[in-house]
């Protein structure tokens, strides 16, 4: 059994990283070249050499039979997202015990899954992939693409929160002298106070029965026609936005 890093729950500042066991960062691609649309989401290990990116892009284009212009597009998009992650690198991240509500609302092929749960971002042992797998197993979700999509969605939210805590530290350092107190009171800006969840009275950790449905997952399976209409709506929306941008 792995030993748990005891310092995580203290108010310690750590160099920036993903608040999960494996420091994988979420990458989301949504490219539109010459009428071809390519959407994808996956995780990337930032410690991998950058040459991997181009190899990956070439491979993807080959496998999916996309036009060759996509190679540069894909690698650029991945590189820029990696760069964004690395721009935080080496900076202090202020982490104390911080429980945040995460929401998942995804459509993967024909499966629509909505869920909401609490996540401790100071728990560096957490594993979104494992969580997503369990969720799909428990709900008997057949589509194998759902679990990775959930994991990516969780990672995106975690990344955002981690990035916010970096800027919180930066602000605090630039600010007035009493930065310690500032940290303690405002460190978790979007984390709701933990004690709000844990009732001050005795049995705080068990939710009221009427709240269960809000914190549990729901899964809908759409028919092919519904998926078709949704896709069409999305693309039309995107085209309209593009047209508007062009006209001005």
């Amino acid at each position: 059994m792995k030993s748990f890093a005891g310092s995580t729950s203290k108010a310690a500042s750590i160099k920036f990283r993903m608040p999960t066991r494996e420091s994988l960062i979420p990458i989301r691609l949504d490219l539109d070249v010459d009428g071809h649309r390519y959407k994808d989401a996956f995780t990337w290990n930032p410690d991998d050499p950058d040459s991997e990116v181009l190899t990956f892009a070439k491979r993807t284009v080959k496998d999916l039979k996309l036009p060759p212009t996509f190679v540069t597009q894909i690698s650029q998009s991945i590189q820029s997202q990696l760069a964004e992650f690395r721009s935080y690198g080496g900076q202090d991240m202020y982490i104390r015990e911080k429980i945040v509500p995460l929401k998942v609302d995804l459509r993967v092929n024909n499966t629509v899954i909505r869920d909401s749960f609490l996540w401790d971002i100071s728990n560096f042992e957490s594993d979104p992939e494992e969580f997503a797998r369990t969720l799909c197993n428990d709900l008997d979700v057949a589509d194998p693409e759902v679990a990775p999509a959930i994991a990516v969605s969780i990672r995106e939210q975690l990344f955002e929160i981690a990035a916010q805590s970096v800027s919180a530290v930066r602000e605090a350092k630039l600010g007035k002298k009493g930065r310690r107190t500032y940290d303690l009171s405002k460190g978790g800006n979007n984390a709701l106070d933990v004690s709000k969840y844990f009732g001050s009275k005795g049995s705080g950790v068990i939710r009221k029965r009427k709240d269960w449905y809000m914190n549990g997952p729901t899964v809908d399976i759409l028919s092919n026609e519904e998926v078709g209409t949704l896709d069409e709506l999305n693309s039309r929306l995107k085209r309209k936005l593009d047209e508007k941008e062009d006209s001005f």
Binding site: G6, L139, I206, N215
Partner: protein, 543 residues
């Protein structure tokens, strides 16, 4: 893997204890405390540095998960189900959940996923060697029987939802009947196949193998739980002597309903036996009623006809064991279904039949009653005889109140239940046998009535609900449509406004350009200074 039973108190101060099966290796588990193993596996809770992770929270999480699983031990508890109800970091909760699952504190006797089912035979061997483990029953049941048992179990569940407690005798008798010829003698308690001469035949027709007989005689709590009212006649060594009964009565008068003290007073008997004995005494019910403030549910009929009581004991045993035999060995039935007593079930059945037939209306019940009786008569010769014999009596009951007639809307389901069972009910004399058969058919008729009435009622309710749902659905759709229409109207208004704005802008632009051109022209006319030439860009002139 070795397995053992653990007695866990059911939380309250109630003397009743429930039996759950956990792996032997997890016997460190105690409700009251937190064991070293737990502290080692989940140190997060015991570091004392965090506000949200402390031993108290840990215990609440743990107790909730285990209790949730024990609500229905045959069902597999999933993590997703648990985290709905618990506040806290899901990663940590998942760690805790898999810890409990690993140690078998949850999902131990739940049905295993298909992939793991192959191990079944291996486990069977191990268990047989151990003798009869208190919590687990292992049988070499043919698959067909397993399926039937499952189907019947489901039916029973449906009945239970309507608050109806069916005595399981008819539903299980056919399984038992099928067994006997094929498998030879099976022990009524542990369900194992008994070798020749290695079983004892009880007076109520139940065969018990020697192993079980021994354990039956020793005061095992397990056994007494399965048999809430052990019959003194069937197990001679359990017969009460007069002096013991006297001591019991003294104890009851002295200690009221504190059964621990009473059992101490009697000394030679344990608590459950004392309760059972007192209830069996002719005035026992009276005393219990006095001391408890509420009477013990018991069929008055059973008091007056001792023969029937003895015979009706058999279904109790059958029920408990057949229901277990019918399932795969990893899922012993949950406690409640095992304890259900035939006697109280019959009583409540009759009550329920009255209630249900009142609900579904006299005509439906009467029509269904005819169907049920015809079906019963077709089913077996004995039934016809019995009904012919008791026709006058039954008719009298019909006319007295429209509440007795059995109804049967579900003829197929009924057929399954009405497989004859009397083939294996030996009885002391011919008369009492006939009497019993008559009674048993009446009970079956009552069961059929109950099912029929329930079905009729359920159908009505379902129809009503469906209509309601359709209506609501229509309302919802209508409201949504209206919403969308409003939105569209709004947007088109917006668009019109935008267009107007755009036109206005265009006009302004035009007039601006015209003014500019006018200005330039005036400038030309009035004579242009040399330096102004540069500013007159071709673009402006084009316009």
């Amino acid at each position: 893997m070795s397995e053992g039973g653990e007695m866990a108190p059911n939380g309250g101060a109630e003397p009743s204890r429930e039996l759950y099966t956990v792996p032997f290796s997890s016997s460190w588990f105690q409700w009251g405390e937190i064991h070293e193993t737990e502290k080692r596996a989940l140190p997060e809770f015991f570091e004392g540095v965090s506000t949200t992770k402390n031993p108290r929270v840990y215990k609440e999480y743990r107790d909730f998960i285990i209790n949730k699983y024990r609500e229905d031990t045959s069902k597999r508890l999933t993590f997703t189900e648990v985290r709905k109800a618990l506040i806290g970091d899901v990663s940590l909760l998942q760690k805790l959940f898999s810890f409990l699952e690993k140690w078998g504190l949850i999902n131990f006797s739940a049905s295993v996923k298909p992939s793991q089912r192959q191990n079944q035979t291996v486990e069977t061997k191990v268990l047989v060697e151990e003798g009869t483990p208190p919590g687990l029953r292992v049988i070499l049941a043919p698959t067909q029987v397993v399926q039937q048992g499952k189907a019947l179990g489901e039916k029973k569940l449906i009945g239970g939802e309507n608050g109806l407690k069916l005595p399981p005798l008819t539903s299980y008798s056919d399984i038992y009947g099928e067994w006997d010829p094929r498998k030879g003698s099976l022990c009524g308690l542990c369900g194992e196949q008994c070798l020749d001469e290695h079983y004892k035949k009880m007076e109520d027709g139940l065969k018990i193998c020697l192993k079980c007989l021994k354990s039956n005689n020793s005061d095992k709590e397990e056994t007494t739980e399965n048999k809430p009212a052990p019959a003194p006649v069937s197990v001679p060594s359990l017969a009460w002597t007069d002096s013991e009964t006297l001591l019991l009565l003294e104890g009851v008068l002295k200690h009221g309903d504190d059964w621990d003290l009473i059992a101490q007073h009697v000394r030679t008997r344990n608590k459950n036996e004392c309760i059972a004995r007192l209830i069996q005494l002719p005035f026992g019910e009276h005393i219990v009623g006095l001391t408890n403030g509420k009477s013990v549910p018991r069929l008055p009929l059973a008091q007056s006809k001792p023969v029937e009581v003895e015979l009706s004991k058999e279904p109790i045993e059958n029920n408990g064991d057949v229901s277990e035999l019918g399932r795969p060995s990893e899922e012993p039935p949950s406690k409640k279904s095992r304890v259900a007593s035939y006697v109280s079930a019959t009583e409540s059945l009759i009550k329920q039949v009255a209630l249900l037939s009142a609900v579904s209306g006299p005509h439906v019940t009467a029509a269904a009653a005819d169907a049920a009786i015809t079906e019963l008569c077709n089913e077996s010769f004995h039934a016809r005889e019995a009904f012919d014999k008791s026709k006058s009596e039954v008719e009298r009951k019909f006319t007295l109140s429209n509440q007795e007639p059995p109804s049967n809307l579900d003829a197929e389901g009924d057929q399954q239940k009405i497989v004859p069972e009397e083939t294996e009910t030996p009885s002391p004399s011919d008369e009492s046998e006939k009497e019993f058969i008559t009674t048993s058919f009446q009970i079956r008729a009552a069961v059929a009535t109950a099912i029929g009435a329930t079905a009729a009622r359920a159908k009505l309710l379902a129809d009503h609900e469906e209509r309601e749902m359709e209506l609501l659905m229509a309302t919802i759709i209508e409201a949504q449509m209206r919403k969308i229409q409003y939105k569209m109207k709004h947007f088109s208004e917006l668009e019109a406004m935008m267009d107007q704005e755009y036109d206005l802008l265009q006009q302004q632009k035009k007039s601006l350009v015209r003014e500019w051109v006018d200005l330039l022209r005036q400038a030309f006319h009035t004579g242009v200074p040399r330096w102004k030439d540069n500013q007159c860009s071709p673009k402006a002139i084009d316009n």
